[in-house]
């Protein structure tokens, strides 16, 4: 009898402690400012210092952002601290869940929808003093539910990167730089030797999608309400990629034992690759002896096309000092500052007013910026990353698959996540 009472007491004690702890944990999440700030349009303002969370490609980027933020801090009198995330999506999620997120942060197109949906983000796009200067497709990439959420930080496009030495060895000249698919197939065949293939790129939508765009395909209709992944144009684009691969003149990077197209290209396993302007950094750092040139992606039956990737400067809805955060972002996306970033770590400015200067500074990479005219963004719907990942996992088997079948499963998965 006595033992039972003691057991009950012990159980009761544990239950109480657990209950208390749960309450304590629950209250650890501050309820935050709610989304009141964004709905009535007034920004929060306080003396709180700002935290800036970035994902850095290397020391150069971290140092450049630190300098820029410190210089703004000096001018405005608001303290700001930059930290470099080791796993940005995870650290952002933790911040939003705890109610004390970083004030300003890098935000990818993948993550936009999820965070916008749960109200973590401040949709401040319309409060920027200057929005017309951004490339319009970049603004589209960060528009969710008809709200322009955040200022594009910089962007990248895909281009055709060519190994100069192999090009000359194959007896090709400037006039041979491919402008259409036939030209590309042609030079890929000429550049293929016993030692290397003509063209290599990653087996992922983020490369193959460029060919689908060149064929005139898109993933949704104009309004973005219906999936059009299994359109004839997309099938044509993917079939062209399959033909390239099965001809032996092109290969997926993984099949050459390389982690990505740049590695296959840098190590001389491929004479050409499809990559973005980030390849300049990799070539400088890892393969400084390889001489290369960049051309625009060749046109397909649907005209020129390529993919574009971008990140923006997000501001948290729970930030106690949104006013200062917005001022900081204005400074960070200003033309001069973007040119300074471009100089420091090789990105392309998101504003059109910096384009000419950038092309003058980086004549070899001008093709990447010129591609902005016909570049299309990658899908941003919530769950799109999973759908793309699924398509990527099937692309690896493209050479033995029917392009229409792959696109059909892509279509059904994609249709399921459209609003």
């Amino acid at each position: 009898m006595q033992r039972r009472i003691r057991r009950l007491m012990a159980f009761g004690a544990i239950a109480t402690v657990t209950g208390l702890a749960l309450t304590a944990c629950g209250s650890g999440f501050s309820e935050g400012g709610g989304d009141g700030a964004s709905s009535d349009g007034a920004l929060t303002s306080s003396d709180d210092s700002l935290t800036v969370l970035i994902a850095s490609s290397g020391d150069a980027e971290a140092a450049a952002v630190r300098d820029a933020v410190a210089s703004w801090s000096g001018d405005s009198g608001t303290d700001a601290e930059v930290s470099v995330a080791s796993d940005l999506p995870q650290q952002l999620s933790q911040g939003f869940a705890s109610g004390s997120p970083a004030d300003v942060f890098y935000l990818s197109t993948d993550a936009l929808a999820g965070f916008a949906e749960n109200g973590s983000l401040l949709a401040y796009g319309d409060q920027l003093s200057e929005t017309d200067d951004f490339f319009p497709t970049l603004v589209d990439s960060f528009t969710y539910d008809d709200q322009f959420y955040c200022a594009p930080k910089d962007f990248s496009t895909l281009g055709l990167v060519i190994n100069e030495q192999m090009w000359q060895e194959a007896g090709l000249t400037d006039a041979d730089v491919p402008t259409d698919w036939d030209g590309l197939s042609d030079v890929a065949a000429k550049l293929t030797t016993a030692d290397h293939v003509g063209l290599a790129f990653g087996a992922e939508y983020a490369r193959v999608g460029a060919f689908m765009a060149e064929a005139g395909g898109s993933l949704t209709n104009e309004d973005g309400t219906e999936a059009t992944v299994d359109s004839d144009e997309n099938v044509e684009g993917l079939t062209y990629v399959k033909d390239l691969i099965t001809s032996g003149d092109a290969a997926f990077a993984a099949d050459l034992g390389a982690g990505w197209g740049g590695e296959a290209f840098g190590t001389g396993k491929a004479a050409m690759t499809v990559e973005g302007n980030w390849i300049a950094g990799a070539m400088n750092a890892d393969y400084p002896d390889v001489d290369y040139r960049v051309a625009e992606m060749p046109a397909g039956p649907g005209g020129q096309g390529t993919l574009q990737f971008t990140n923006c400067w997000g501001i948290a809805a729970d930030s106690p000092n949104q006013q200062a955060a917005l001022e900081l972002v204005e400074q960070l996306v200003s033309t001069d500052q973007q040119l300074a970033f471009a100089d420091a770590f090789g990105v392309m400015p998101s504003v059109q007013s910096a384009a000419d200067q950038w092309k003058t500074d980086n004549p070899d990479s001008a093709a990447f910026l010129d591609s902005a005219d016909f570049a299309v963004g990658v899908p941003t719907q919530q769950g799109a990353a999973d759908v793309i990942a699924d398509f990527n996992s099937q692309l690896e088997g493209l050479s033995s698959a029917e392009p229409a079948d792959l696109l059909e499963s892509f279509q059904s998965n994609y249709a399921a996540i459209l609003p």
Partner: protein, 369 residues
């Protein structure tokens, strides 16, 4: 038995133990209870709640705006029919094959190593024990990175294989299932009744794909890293075995092989249970290798439920689904452990088995002589 010894009588009533002792007892376990409660029990209760709620990842899961959705998240996984269900099916398939290969191999290898280093005649036993145990104390992230280098297309493993005239695969890039490949080599391709029907969005034929080449590299790694730990458990158990039983078996004329299988191994049953259970739990929860190494690729063949749970929550912002996956995984581990317990329980020796131990006619005659 119920002879009234006064000592037994006093022991049987814990309530009369001195009050001071009980207090200090509680005092000593309090830190553990608090820490376990705070970092284990509370998060588990929270995760359980999240798995049945529509929490979106912002603010407290216990705030008023978070709604109860019942088993919706679980239903999406099992009956959803969409990408979520298929990813879950794929991850279960991958992890099941991983378990099927890792658990028996690591148990056998660790037992073999234990018997080896337990032999009195072996010189430098200490050295070998340390060497075999070394991978277990190294961080799994570090080993994964080393593994990625060893198993590249032009890595050390393929170089070694080339000496034997074998052209190695591009390990971590190769998504082909080894069972499918083996069946393909003898000309078997998926029969229609297997390819046409599916479970969790994965066709029956694909359930039988076996671990991919990439997953096989992880299987080898798991065996390499954990065998040392379990070897230690077996060594401890072996050293607890009395020599008298061995001697008796020797006197009865059992050879070394028979002594191992009929005398030593049955005595190791409790340790075997521990090793199998720990192995089962560890292999169903494989995460760090995937996170550091392949992120689920190539072609999702190294996607595991724990990694899927992580990406669903942190990358997909679908926290309910992430938590639901974690609890399905929990249920799988509990059920399998119960099954294993039932299989390994102490049973009366069957007639067939008994006959192995009974003296045969010839040995009986010898004994009479």
């Amino acid at each position: 038995m119920s002879t009234t010894s006064p000592r037994v009588g006093r022991r049987a009533r814990p309530g009369t133990a001195s009050r001071g002792e009980a207090t200090s007892g509680w005092l000593f376990v309090t830190p553990t209870i608090v820490i376990l409660g705070l970092f284990l029990l509370v998060p588990m209760v929270m995760a359980l709640w999240v798995s049945v709620s529509d929490w979106s990842g912002r603010g407290s899961p216990f705030s008023a705006s978070v709604g109860f959705v019942g088993l919706q998240n679980y239903d999406d996984l099992v009956n959803g029919g969409g990408l979520a269900a298929r990813d879950f099916g794929i991850s279960l398939r991958n992890n099941a094959w991983y378990v099927v290969f890792v658990v028996p191999i690591q148990t056998a290898v660790s037992l073999f190593l234990a018997v080896l280093v337990n032999r009195q005649v072996l010189r430098g036993r200490g050295f070998f024990r340390t060497a075999f145990y070394f991978p277990s104390v190294t961080s799994s992230v570090a080993i994964t990175v080393v593994w990625l280098f060893l198993f590249t297309q032009t890595g050390a493993v393929n170089r070694a294989l080339s000496w034997l005239g074998i052209e190695g695969p591009a390990w971590f890039q190769d998504p082909s299932g080894v069972v499918h490949a083996a069946l393909g080599a003898i000309g078997v391709t998926g029969p229609a009744f297997l390819t046409d029907h599916d479970l969790l969005g994965v066709s029956w034929w694909d359930w039988f794909a076996g671990p991919s080449v990439a997953m096989s590299a992880f299987v080898l790694m798991a065996v390499f890293t954990t065998s040392g730990t379990f070897m230690l458990l077996f060594v401890a158990a072996l050293q607890n075995l009395g020599g008298d039983v061995q001697e008796a078996a020797m006197m009865d004329g059992a050879n070394a092989w028979q002594r191992f299988w009929r005398v030593t191994l049955p005595q190791l049953r409790p340790t075997l249970f521990t090793v199998l259970t720990l192995g089962l739990i560890g292999t169903w929860q494989v995460f760090d290798q995937i996170y550091t190494g392949t992120q689920g690729g190539p072609a999702k063949t190294t996607l595991t439920p724990s990694y899927l749970s992580y990406t669903s929550a942190f990358a997909g912002q679908d926290w309910g689904r992430g938590a639901a996956i974690a609890f399905v995984l929990f249920a799988i581990i509990v059920v399998l452990t119960i099954v294993q317990r039932a299989v390994l329980r102490e049973r009366p020796v069957s007639r067939r088995r008994m006959s192995l131990y009974e003296p045969t006619a010839s040995t009986r005659k010898e004994a009479r002589r």
